[in-house]
């Protein structure tokens, strides 16, 4: 008894059998090939997409970020809600001074979708009023020039930091647009900064819609925005970045205390963390993993049934051969190993071909799917599991045919025509 020798002989016989029935073997492998290719490619694509979402989440501050939004005062405070000044510029100063746990704090004064005009070109884009701290909260890299400065805020300067979209669209062919003038809804601004495009590599399919949207943000000093567009000192929200994720509970409490004071006891604000978004992201990941796993599992199962079918046909075709082998000394165990090895060889080869196909599919996906640059051509974990699963399926689907073969009576098998 030599199990290693048995398996080696079995695999060699299996390979020979597969090779001598090339077309049939390829057809029986096709289920496994497609199953593995689909599994690995889908997982690779989804991982790439989720990677993009995570990157975008991190770019917007990640788990360290807090947002304070105005909300209606609770019902029991409704009758005195008027004494609160609302969310104003003063809240920024109060938070900045009173809470050392805050790394960055900036108001966001949201304008509507504004019309940007320069060089005879018009484009719609987003305009936000912020303070210098905002560059620490939302990780926009400055490509040329600078971000909004304290001086800009103090003097309500008519300056603007433009996103890649406006820089490209209004000044085509001009890589540096610092010092240029741009008119936004009737107001003229001097460009002092230019934000780096988010994707440094441009795919043939162009940049994705979401990144385009991120690149459509343009920033002016919050004070300029309030003076020019709002006429008062109200802000739309406050964005805060903590130093450390462990500080979050304390930080939330301190912000609440500080703002309750500046709002004269009225709870007309709401503090939001990014936890929910992170949880959503995780939920999305899980649902993708399970649904894709299910689909791929089913397709691999179908592939396994295909192999079982072919193996059963192969056993029926070779009843006489089985009889001969038994007559010259093969034990049932030898016949079992022989047929099982054949099924495993088919599924292992199918799995390998599937992996090769998945690399091809993922390369295509990289080129044709928007945001596809983050798709890995070789998602190693998915490849490992895809291959493992396909081999196990092959093993499982070979057991029954191999058992049928090994249980054949040699006399009956030899008489079989």
């Amino acid at each position: 008894m030599n199990p290693v020798g048995d398996i080696y002989t079995g695999a060699a016989n299996g390979l020979r059998e597969v090779w001598s029935n090339k077309v049939r073997s390829l057809l029986s492998m096709s289920g496994i090939i497609l199953g593995v290719a689909a599994l690995v490619a889908m997982v690779g694509i989804v991982q790439g997409m989720l990677g993009n979402m995570r990157a975008s989440f991190e770019r917007s501050g990640g788990v360290l970020k807090l947002e304070v939004h105005p909300q209606e005062a609770p019902e029991w405070q409704q009758h005195i809600a008027g004494i609160s000044p609302g969310m104003t510029w003063r809240d920024i100063g109060a938070i900045d001074k009173a809470i050392p746990l805050v790394a960055y704090v900036s108001p966001v004064v949201d304008m509507n979708w504004e019309r940007f005009i320069a060089n005879g070109q018009r484009r719609g884009a987003l305009l936000q009023g912020v303070t210098p701290d905002y560059s620490g909260i939302k990780l926009n890299e400055i490509q040329h020039g600078r971000f909004i400065s304290d001086y800009d805020v103090a003097s309500k300067s008519p300056v603007i930091v433009v996103g890649a979209y406006i820089a490209d669209a209004l000044f085509p062919g001009q890589s540096r647009v610092i010092g240029e003038q741009v008119r936004v809804s009737g107001q003229v601004y001097t460009i002092v900064g230019q934000i780096q495009p988010i994707e440094s590599v441009t795919s043939p399919a162009g940049r994705s819609s979401r990144f385009n949207r991120e690149e459509r943000y343009n920033y002016i000093p919050a004070t300029t925005a309030m003076a020019r567009y709002k006429g008062d000192d109200e802000v739309n929200r406050i964005e805060i970045l903590a130093h450390d994720v462990g500080d979050m509970p304390d930080l939330i409490e301190q912000i609440e205390n500080t703002l309750t004071q500046t709002h004269r006891g009225i709870s007309d604000f709401e503090i939001r963390t990014q936890d929910e978004q992170l949880a959503e992201l995780k939920k999305l990941e899980n649902s993708f993993t399970y649904s894709l796993g299910g689909i791929a599992g089913i397709s691999l199962l179908v592939g396994g049934i295909g192999i079982m079918n072919v193996m059963l046909a192969s056993v029926s075709e070779r009843i006489r051969e089985i009889g001969v082998r038994k007559a010259i000394g093969a034990r049932s165990h030898d016949i079992f190993i022989q047929f099982l090895a054949e099924a495993v060889v088919i599924s292992v080869l199918g799995g390998l071909l599937g992996l090769v196909a998945s690399v091809g599919l993922l390369s295509l996906a990289r080129d044709f799917i928007p945001e596809g640059e983050n798709i890995s051509v070789m998602p190693v974990t998915a490849m490992f599991y895809g291959f493992l699963f396909s081999s196990l399926i092959g093993l499982a689907s070979g057991v029954y045919p191999a058992m049928r073969a090994s249980r054949l009576d040699p006399i009956d098998a030899l008489r079989y025509e």
Partner: protein
């Protein structure tokens, strides 16, 4: 006491099948001893039990009743795996329809019992070629069975049965599919094996073939009705 020098000793062997509700006595009380270096022809009409006897001697079928010993060992005490091993190492089979595996070369067909016998052989290929030379087929070693004539295939099949240097070769109508010329050659080959210490038992219904043997056993209705030295 069973003589260990005997190749086979059979006492009151019965083999009964149930076909539907009827009992068929394929072997109905067979007493037989096979000694070393015998050349036995088993003859009889179809249904006389000669094939069942061969299958029983080849451990592919087990008697329903009776005692059977191989080289002094009680066969009923030999496990299935051990019976397979004995087939691979001590007993050679030759069939009417040759039963070579079509996808293997002549040499690989001949070497196949070595795989199942699990014996350590220093140079399998050399051994295979020497056995093929013995039957005059070494020049066709790399051919497929489909490229050979019937007589050539049977010679390869005999080479396969010889590869493990068996004690006994069981041949079931080995010349049934051959023309007269090839029949003569194969029988001469068989006759020459006896000189090498191999015991031979062959089933035939051809009297000319049976004439090559030294002992003739005639079967009828599952019983031996004639056992004569020639």
């Amino acid at each position: 006491m069973i003589d260990p020098d005997l190749v086979f000793a059979l006492r009151s062997i019965r083999r009964t099948y149930k076909v539907g509700s009827e009992l068929v006595h394929a072997l109905n009380g067979v007493d037989l001893t096979i000694e070393d270096r015998e050349f036995i022809a088993v003859i009889g009409t179809s249904g006389s039990g000669k094939s069942t006897l061969m299958h029983t001697l080849g451990f592919m079928d087990s008697p329903t009743e009776g005692q059977m010993a191989f080289e002094g060992r009680d066969v009923s005490a030999i496990s299935r795996g051990e019976r397979s091993r004995l087939r691979a190492t001590r007993i050679g089979f030759v069939f009417q329809s040759f039963n070579l595996l079509p996808k293997l070369t002549v040499l690989d067909n001949v070497l196949l019992p070595l795989v199942y016998g699990r014996q350590r052989v220093a140079n399998k290929k050399e051994l295979g070629m020497s056995v093929l030379e013995r039957v005059g087929m070494d020049h066709r070693a790399s051919h497929r069975p489909s490229q050979l004539s019937g007589g050539e295939r049977q010679r390869v099949a005999i080479a396969r049965s010889l590869i493990n240097q068996p004690r006994l070769i069981l041949a079931d109508e080995p010349t049934g599919n051959l023309d007269t010329k090839n029949r003569g050659r194969i029988m001469e080959l068989f006759a020459s094996l006896m000189d090498e210490g191999i015991t031979l038992a062959l089933v035939t219904h051809d009297d000319e073939v049976a004439a090559y043997a030294k002992r003739r056993i005639r079967m009828q209705d599952g019983q031996i009705v004639e056992d004569s030295a020639l």
